[in-house]
Amino acid sequence: MLKFVSTYLALSYLAFAALVSAGVLQVLAAWRALAGLALFDYRRRPAWRHACGPLLIALGYVWFFATRRELITPGPAGAELTILFGGGVALALAVTLPAAAILRPYRPQATSTGPEAMQAHPARLAPGEATLLQDAAQSQPGPAICLLPDPAAPREPLLDLADRLARRGWLVLVPAWGEALQRYPDALALVPAAMAFLSRHPLADANRLAVAGVGLGADLALRAAAEDRSIRAVVALAPLWEPANARPSLGLLAEMTYPEALRWGLRGRRGRLLDGLASTQALPRIAPRPALVLYGGDDAVVPLSEVRTRLQTAELRTMPGVGHLSLAASPEAAANVAQWLDDNL
């Protein structure tokens, strides 16, 4: 039977455990750069930001031990303390997760180098809207690419990659992945429509068409390339491959806040889409056309060890120090993709 000896002491211990746990969560957020738990942007100096966690822990200890006089009298039993500590952890999470979502210190920053020289036009595809980027100075047909965003991730990082490719003479089409297309097999209509648009465009060389995607967009790119022989090269940035990798997980909180992680799952549609797209089976059908699969070395969503065993017909590159969501925003990844596309198409 749980007695807790003294309600006041038990509640005090619960508050103490919550403060200590909140401090530990901030230490973890600083140590592992966990966006979903961070109250500050710990990646930036000054060093005092790293003191937030230790300060909360110290505050908990000072408050509890300076104000409680009954600490060397019989208190709650071990099992009761365990329950109270668990409650403290739950309380700390219940406060930290919404607070991190409100403060959101790891907001993705636009890294665009300035698309002044690029022309961005809205384009109309049968299944929805798209953005077309091209170099204003371009007059001859050149390579063209369809860049597929992840339906739940911000498009800005991908537009940066699009801008970089457009500067290298690529005609770049970035379709919007609207909610109506976030179902299987409806999603399969997106790439053929984009490819049809590009192949008709006067500045696109129909023999130099490529497709690239990020996250779920990468899975769609792989599947589309397996079925469309006019696609001459594929780049997949952090594809998810399996519904298991779309399940809610702590890995998402490494790069997103809690509400963002909830939205990322697309209310279960992401897993169903992955199941339908079956990009794992699509990959061998792309060969001998060149395919590049790129991951962040710190990808907390997809197990890279499993990816390495899966990839036999595609080139795998990893970007050290980059995560799953931050891959598209990584200038190194963008430079890598642009160079690879130039070399292979």
Binding site: P74, L250, P303
Partner: protein, 194 residues
């Protein structure tokens, strides 16, 4: 053995009652809250620290093994207390300086040391430095309990061995825990916490 145990206890307990600040520090270290909370927090670190899905799976298995080992260790300790009851030093001897309340359960093995070293061994399974931190906290807890007059050194050693042995046993027989781990991780994953 018991003579050596008593002599070591006397040497350490003689430090108590001399300096109020030192006594305060020992009371802070030996109570049921300060170090046990810090040791419990090691499991929170272990649960959240994994960078990759593989790391997290192994870390969560270690946390679960530690919790199961704690439960089994506590049950084993109760059973041992029924078989053998050792009086606390302050009950068995005169002249012991006591900085704590009068615990009435058996002195051997030390409950606190068993808990502390289960945590430490569980953390060490996945991280050397977390394990070393846990062991350091366990040693501090054990020493403070001897200085504070509630345990003999042998009680602490026996408690530590019980904790480490229970964890090793749970690890060896962890196959039945696979289903439990899957269930716990599944529930936590619903909240994006696994």
């Amino acid at each position: 053995m018991l003579a050596w145990d008593w002599a070591l206890f006397q040497a350490l307990n003689s430090l108590a009652g001399r300096w109020p600040a030192f006594d305060g520090l020992i009371r802070f270290l030996m109570n049921d809250y300060a170090l046990t909370t810090a040791l419990s927090a090691l499991l929170v670190v272990l649960w959240f620290r994994g960078r990759t899905p593989e790391e997290r799976r192994a870390d969560h298995a270690a946390v679960l093994c530690t919790i199961v080992a704690l439960l089994i260790g506590m049950a084993a300790l109760k059973g041992l207390n029924l078989l053998y009851f050792r009086l606390r030093p302050f009950t068995a001897h005169d002249g012991v300086t006591l900085l704590f309340y009068h615990p009435s359960d058996s002195s051997l093995p030390s409950n606190a040391a068993a808990v502390a070293f289960t945590f430490a061994a569980g953390a060490a399974r996945r991280s050397t430095w977390l394990g070393a931190l846990g062991a350091a906290l366990g040693v501090l807890l054990g020493l403070s309990r001897i200085i504070g007059g509630v345990h003999y050194p042998l009680d602490i050693v026996a408690g530590a061995l019980l904790g480490v042995a229970t964890l090793a046993l749970v690890e060896r027989c962890s196959r039945p825990l696979t289903l439990l781990l899957r269930g716990v991780r599944g529930l936590a994953a619903l909240l994006y916490l696994a």
